[in-house]
Amino acid sequence: MSSLLEISGSLNMVGYGLATIGPGIGVAMVFAAVINGTARQPEARGALMSTAWIGFAVVEALAIIGIALAFAIQ
């Protein structure tokens, strides 16, 4: 019980935290563009969203590769 508040672990997790900054900004930019576009032209929402989901998937892939590597590389 004395070791309860001891901080230990791997620097990988800090690295993963840093690695999420890029995808985080990227996903935010994708959806910010969709919100802007929908506000300017509401009827284009369907077309915008379908492109946005693909873009979101590609950007999010970076964060996913990051978490995989954070656990895989010791």
Binding site: M1, G9, W53, I54, A57, V58, E60, I64, I67, A68
Partner: protein, 270 residues
């Protein structure tokens, strides 16, 4: 372990084992009947089967006895059904969405129910935070979007559609074809699976940190630790609410992306 066994029944494990810090080990499979030689029959398998039964039973029950003036039950079912049929299927797939609605609906309901097991008092564990279940679901979607693409365009035509985007100068084919092949055929299902898995894995880990950490702090002698434990347990309620939200959002994203991939496979060259 004090409050621990009461709050997280499925995280028990053997007596006296340390649960701190929670990590990858917290997700180890637990056989339903330990020592019976049936280790494949673990709690996750039971959860997935129960989820399938719940989904099938729920939709059969909702679809029974439909009337022109809907009852409350039918209204609720139609709202859920329309969310998938119109919000995902018709938006992504265009006029040919009807054929794919059953798969999308089943996929969404199954993932939502499995994700909500993480907050359900009996199980307290999201099934898909075991990566195998996510790979299985992604494999189904992978077979679907490749299958319909090959059936519509033929094998060569489908590969051409997937790997040679229109308007690229032929000089760049050497670069583009492997890149597009890896991106569309290999990376898509992996990211589909890992996105779902990683969100639920991380979410359950955060819940463990708050609940297990909070109950361990309550057992310390100092009152400052006890106060921190109370704060941690109180904070676990917003975390649970966040996890419910994330579970539903991730099921939605998985279904939307499956529909988008099918739409991309069915797209005509133009």
């Amino acid at each position: 372990m004090g409050l621990l066994g009461l709050i997280i029944p499925m995280e028990g494990g053997e007596e006296g084992a340390s649960h701190w810090p929670p990590g990858v080990d917290s997700f180890d499979p637990k056989p339903l009947f330990p020592g019976a030689g049936m280790d494949w029959l673990n709690t996750y398998l039971v959860q997935a089967v129960v989820a399938a039964i719940v989904v099938i039973g729920m939709w059969l029950w909702v679809a029974r006895g439909q009337k022109v003036v809907p009852t409350y039950k039918q209204w609720l079912g139609e709202q859920l059904y329309n969310l998938i049929r119109n919000g995902i299927g018709r938006d992504a797939l265009g006029p040919h969405y009807r054929k794919y609605t059953p798969y999308l609906l089943a996929l969404f309901s199954f993932i939502v129910v499995n994700n909500l097991w993480g907050q359900f008092f009996l199980f307290m564990f999201p099934t898909i935070s075991r990566v195998g279940y996510a790979y299985g679901l992604a494999l189904l979607s992978w077979l679907l979007y490749n299958g319909v693409g090959i059936r519509k365009h033929g094998f060569g035509g489908y590969l051409k559609l997937m790997t040679m985007p229109k308007g690229v100068p032929p000089v760049l084919y050497l670069l583009i074809i492997p890149l597009e092949f890896v991106s569309n055929i290999i990376v898509r299902p992996i990211t589909l699976a890992l996105r779902l898995f990683a969100n639920l894995f991380a979410g359950h880990l955060v819940v463990l940190v708050f609940v297990v950490g909070g109950s361990m702090l309550l057992e310390q002698s100092s009152y400052i630790y006890k106060a921190a434990g109370v704060a941690s347990l109180v904070m676990s309620y917003p975390i649970f609410a966040l996890e419910i939200f994330i579970g539903i959002i991730q099921a939605y994203i998985f279904t939307v992306l499956t529909a988008q991939y099918v739409a991309a496979s069915l797209a005509d060259e133009h």
